[in-house]
Subunit: 302 residues, 2 copies
DNA sequence: TATCATATAAAACAATCGTTGCATCGATCT
DNA sequence: AGATCGATGCAACGATTGTTTTATATGATA
């Protein structure tokens, strides 16, 4: 499990960061993993660590030498020491904050309340009841010919994420979106073998409901991600997955809904792991050939 | 140097204590050392541990079998897990029980692992270090004349959410997005009083980095939501907020990034609560007059 | 005291560890 | 194009790991 462990007053960490740019790609990949999983370094063997980081074992040794250390053992010893002597940081560090300005403290408290609330809401989704709904929804989506994805206004985030991830796996999804009031056009060729995944929360966008209703009339299966048992979508959906949207701020939160969407993607990919892997590799190659990604700030062209 | 720490309500710990009296002297000596140095168990090899405990290596194995475990590796794994999950408490508890089964059960387990991992990651964002970064970022965004929001590909979700919420508050944000390669056009009228909020995770979209670099050259402030201390964005951003992106599935997760974005929105709205409330009411009235929302499935028109 | 059962130490074992040398690959420069 | 150099994957190495087996020591019982 990934855990960015942000503050340890750590010389080695700084050292790795400062020399990161000079490293070769493989060394960078290893270094990045070290930075983002400092705990694992102390807890697992180098070989296992390198497996998880996606590099060769020797790369870890080479990284150590690159950093001027005698070997990997130095890296591990350092991280183990960091764990041993971490004063129970949380309470201590929270204390030092109380001396700062009022506004800042109020802000930090709001942040913390929001984040811990979100964590709790997502943890709640892992209860058996929602797990069952997730499985059932994934099942229906898996058997669909095409999946039409609809999320308007704030829910566009979730719809986009689902569609984007699924395009990496294939062309099963069609995102119902577009300018000039063409949102629903995708449904023209939709039929009974298809499924509509609709995301909508209170207040429910009228257009989403209309399109969901239309889809129902055309015989599509309907899977909904929504926020309540009494959401209008529950009535017309075959499967409804409920997410809480309450936040300690002015706005509703879509974070739990996004989590649900990501879990659905994970479940769908998991139905055929080898096919998923293959599709992802194909997508990788495609994007690579298009020069879509970079790992450093590029020199600007012209 | 030995210190009893870790107030873990630990099943293995209880077990060792409850059977302590039945143990032979050597087993007791080993067990006592385990109880008093739980951290060391996860950090050093069994042979070194037994050296420090003053017993033979085989005694550790025998202790494990005495406790009904298959071997010493179980003991180490358990203590490593305790260290991994020391921070988050509630996510740790549910993590324990796992029962194997069929495909559906496997799916449910994947779901649960993903959700609990996400919950833990978001809970970690509530540590003081990230709270500081959030406050600082919100501060810079608050003082900006305009906020340009940039998130491409998978990060579009987050960029959209931030922009959408902020449009409810006013017209301070400009979403850098669009078809026909017009993504960057919004920056034409950007200047030194403005700030760019850029969201990008590994693999980093080349275009995002280029635009961020351009913005930097035009004198804009830069706030980044990204995934690593060594992300290329960290170098050019004034503020970088780090989110973990690891998931127990094939794909990266954007849920923590979305949570960060929502917290930023919350902090910004919180700077002037009355103004925020007023703006939201105005937005409500506007959307009401446009008949954007509904609370029941409408009859389809025409 | 002789015998036996158990607890402990010592040694042997395969597996895995971190490391190193070598071959290969791809980029850069004559 | 050919040469050169660093980066990288691979395979083998000795060292060390956790475990198992064997031998020794211990202590109780008859």
């Amino acid at each position: 499990m990934g855990a960015i462990q942000m503050l340890q007053n750590d010389a080695m960490r700084e050292h790795i960061i400062s020399r990161f740019d000079e490293m070769s790609p493989q060394l960078q990949q290893a270094a990045r993993y070290l930075l983002e999983h400092p705990r694992e370094v102390a807890l697992v063997s180098m070989r296992e660590l390198s497996r998880n980081a996606g590099v060769q074992p020797s790369t870890m040794t080479r990284l150590a030498k690159f950093l001027g250390l005698s070997g990997y053992e130095d890296i591990r010893a350092h991280h183990a020491e960091a764990i041993r002597f971490r004063t129970d940081g949380f309470a201590a560090r929270a204390m030092q904050h109380t001396s700062e300005g009022e506004q800042d403290v109020a802000g930090a408290q709001l942040s913390r309340r929001m984040l811990q609330g979100l964590a709790a809401q997502i943890a709640q989704l892992s209860e058996p009841a929602s797990l069952d709904r997730l499985s059932a929804a994934a099942e229906q989506l898996a058997h669909a010919r095409k999946i039409f994805v609809l999320g308007l206004r704030s829910c566009h985030s979730v719809a986009w994420q689902f569609h984007y991830v699924m395009t990496l796996l294939g062309d099963k999804t069609i995102h119902l979106d577009g300018p000039a009031d063409t949102v629903g056009d995708g449904l023209i060729r939709a039929g009974a073998e298809d499924v509509l995944l609709v995301i909508s929360i209170n207040p429910y966008a009228l257009h989403s409901l209309e399109l969901a209703q239309l889809a129902r009339e055309k015989g599509l299966g309907i899977v909904a991600i929504t926020d309540s048992e009494v959401s209008p979508l529950v009535g017309i959906a075959d499967q409804a997955i409920l997410c809480s949207t309450e936040s300690q701020s002015f706005f509703h939160t879509l974070t739990p809904a996004l989590a649900i969407s990501e879990v659905l993607c994970g479940l769908l990919a998991n139905k055929d792991r080898t096919a998923a892997l293959e599709a992802l590799q194909r997508a990788d190659r495609h994007l690579l050939s298009l020069n879509t990604y970079a790992s450093a700030i590029p020199r600007r062209r012209i």
